[in-house]
């Protein structure tokens, strides 16, 4: 009896919190955080969930990352593209527990050139996928990791 009441109260509280949150966070047209993509455990699924398909390798996508990352907790990466019409640039680390690391949305007027720092659990292929004019292009690089950065 008390279990049922507790779960009902929890559900109402959760629902209330959700309503409150959506009122407080007006969204401008921005791609929402896609849970399925971020929680996918293999790269193909993550890419499919986020971008709707696989990308073709392109010399117009540049991924700068170290050959060897001494510290997997902080791996500096730069993704850039010389293409016109770039809408987004995303980064995947194939051997991470969840391969999708980040999705950067590039509005018109912003350079397709973003730098960040990632965590890598172990040596892995790192892939940058650029969405330009509705199509997907990628560049990959194998980054060796000496000390993993995901936890444990």
């Amino acid at each position: 009896m008390s279990m049922n009441r507790r779960s009902v109260v929890k559900a109402i509280a959760a629902g209330g919190a959700l309503v409150g949150a959506s009122v407080l966070m007006p969204r401008i047209a921005m791609a929402a955080w896609t849970t399925k993509a971020f929680e996918a455990e293999d790269q193909a699924t993550a890419m499919n969930e986020l971008l709707g398909g696989a990308a073709e390798e392109s010399a117009e996508v540049t991924l700068k990352a170290p050959d060897i990352a001494e510290n997997g907790a902080v791996v500096p990466v730069t993704v850039s593209s010389s293409m016109a019409g770039v809408e987004s640039m995303s980064i995947f680390v194939e051997n991470n527990p969840n391969p999708l690391v980040a999705e950067f949305l590039i509005p018109a007027g912003t350079d397709a050139d973003v730098s960040t720092r990632l965590r890598m659990g172990k040596t892995s292929k790192v892939t940058a996928v650029v969405k330009a004019n509705g199509k997907l292009y990628s560049a990959s690089k194998e980054v060796k990791v000496t000390i993993g950065g995901c936890g444990g």
Partner: protein, 105 residues
Amino acid sequence: MAKGILKVKAKASGDKTKVKLMAKHIMESGQRKDKKTGELIPAKFLQELKVMHGGKEVFAANLGTAISKNPYFAFNFAGGAKGDELTMTWVENSGATSTETAKVK
């Protein structure tokens, strides 16, 4: 006013504004175990970040737990001048959200 978590260096350079942004945030992945209890430390990370300039969105990011602690981003956008204001909004997986501002130098 509460102190923000974002440190921003925004510089007008030619016809662009160059931005380097760092958020002070643990980006807890949810994969680490508490050494005493053996329990998983719950994930606590920035999920979304949006930067506006002159009412226009100039950068947005959806982030996972593999972005390093104290997330760092560098990007450039066309336009902007010294004295302009940038407005940044972040959302954490917990639902916490905040908006901070910074000036272009």
